[in-house]
Amino acid sequence: MKVGRYKVEHLQTDLLIIGGGTAGCFAAVKAKEAAPELDVLILEKAHIERSGCLAAGMNAINAYINPGETPESFVRYVRADSMGLIREDLVLSIARRLNEVVREVEGWGLPIMKDKEGNYLARGRWNIKINGERLKPIIANKALEAGARVLNRAVVTDLLVEENQVKGAVAFSVRKQVFYVVQARAVIVATGGAAGIYRPNNQGSAHHKMWYPPFNTGAGYAMGIRAGAEMTSFEMRFIALRTKDVIAPTGTLALGFGAKQVNSRGERFMAERYAHLGAEGAPTPWRVYGPTQEIKEGRGPVFLDTTHLSEEEVRELKKSYLNMYPELVLAWAANDFNPAEEPIEIQGTEPYIVGGHTQSGYWIDVNRQTTIDGLFAAGDVAGGAPYKFVSGCWAEGAIAAESAAEYIRKKRGKEEFQEIDSRQIEVKAEEVFAPLNRSDGVRPHEMEESLQKIMDEYAGGISRYYEMNERELSIAQRKLEKLKNQVKYLTAGDLHELMNCHEVIDRIDVARVLVKHLQYRKETRWPAYQSNLDYPALNDREWLKFVNSRYENGEIKIYERPYEQLIPGDRYLP
């Protein structure tokens, strides 16, 4: 398909929300609540009804203050789980709102499981069980009901920023040849994290059989990086422990059904080798490092032992997965697999960048404002606060929305929208649509494979058991610079492929920042997530601080930011 002229459509809104997922939809509701007179517009690359992490559903809420716990005990737990380094102000502000946002969504129709006394059914210390198959439609409908406008199938590529103040964003439609220019008084970015940076567990016809949505490609990070926003902690990658092959979450098995990790010899290796760190309750990175080392040292495969389950429990287990990850149930059926008879094989995923599990993302203040005036961030795209999960993303969406509404009222409520330089828009649009006009060049899938190969082999991917050293990282860096220069050869046959082109452009920008961060932290703070073999030990004396970065004049500059302890106590005790 050769594409002729695109049409430019100009839109204006008070509050623009980029990405209508978990955090974005919730933020829309809260913004309308805080300031009903505000016009709120969501730009979503898919369709808000079933987009992002919640597409298939959820079976638990993983951040909830159960009876006996407090926001402070939550912060202590998250701090220890993240090896003593988090933004305590951010985590505390989320913790204080977790229960309120969960009750609110329950009121919108989410079924939460209860015991005989009517209390929420806990699944582990911070989790409660839900029947969340329809969670995404529930919150999407609420955003519409609240009066937010939504533009679906609009892929945002860049922020509009002048003198470090956000002015809006640009996007293109994957349905018609339209280039959107959106002017806004404030913007919340909520595009989720990034998958597909590293070579995934499965390849070929199964390459998208991954845990994190392959359609969350780090756009929000990339547009922030390009606009000069400060980013934090990219080096704290997220690697999930998942069922082998189908890559389904294992929390359901471990927390919900008491399954323990065993190696090929039947040893409970977490208890045997990592007792000093809490055995099966060791910090999350160690729970990925442990089994990965078993496999590396020849004691794999590693399993979650489910053979104690009764047939009735297996039925419950299947139900639980049908609420969130139905294809695992199908895979068991196809392979005549019964978890009551055989243990479930597990493995680590490829590394993702996900600020809602670990803490890579925008550097924000406690109001969720980024270092760009008027630009706010919430959910997996926002940094500094691990352990958010679905409820923490809602809490953060609420905080961002309320702060953005306040910001508009105080600073930009009366502002007239300035005419945008049409020449500048034309240049941008030409650049965005350029791959459609190249007849010869590199297809986005080829470039994606190239990126994933570099990252896997030189920046600690699955094939390297997540480990890396300085020499490898410098090779990765060099290869990524070369790849970045190849972006001008990307070619697309239609608008869908054009989206794929921008996805790989974004992934490359994220990967470049990631490698810089991995190079800078000269210790190993989070084994597996960040294992540097040249500096294998944790070093609190020199490295109890955040590694941040900013894109300046075409270069990624690193900044160090101090850690502040707010909640007293031993940082390594949960």
Partner: protein, 106 residues
């Protein structure tokens, strides 16, 4: 593999601006063939197997097929979406059937 269409069941969502399956796929993987008017998947390898399209079809015309390297042939999982619940029909490779009914809206 990814999803397969049963064109005996599918009526191409006649009368709708855009078929449900095409409208909701989070990866924009489904499209309408301009010649036949039928939905198809652009690239099977890009499917996430999230079953959003499967659930969205009012006629049950779409079925998930896992990538062959991960699951042998046969077996099926079919959801039926009702107002406040979802009913899953599971058939394993040996033909055993199971039904799960889950309330998903209060």
């Amino acid at each position: 593999m990814s999803v397969i269409f049963d064109y005996n069941q599918c009526n191409s969502c006649r009368g709708k601006d855009e078929p449900f399956c095409v409208k909701y796929c989070p990866g924009d993987l489904l499209s309408v063939d301009s010649e036949t008017g039928r939905p198809y998947i652009r690239n099977e390898a890009d499917c996430w197997d999230c079953m959003v399209c499967v659930k969205s079809c009012p006629f049950g015309a779409i079925e998930t097929r896992l990538p062959y390297p991960l699951a042998s042939y046969e077996a099926s999982l079919k959801p039926r979406v009702l107002a406040d619940r979802i009913i899953w029909h599971l058939k394993d490779a040996s033909g055993r059937e199971e039904v799960f009914e889950i309330k998903n809206l209060e």
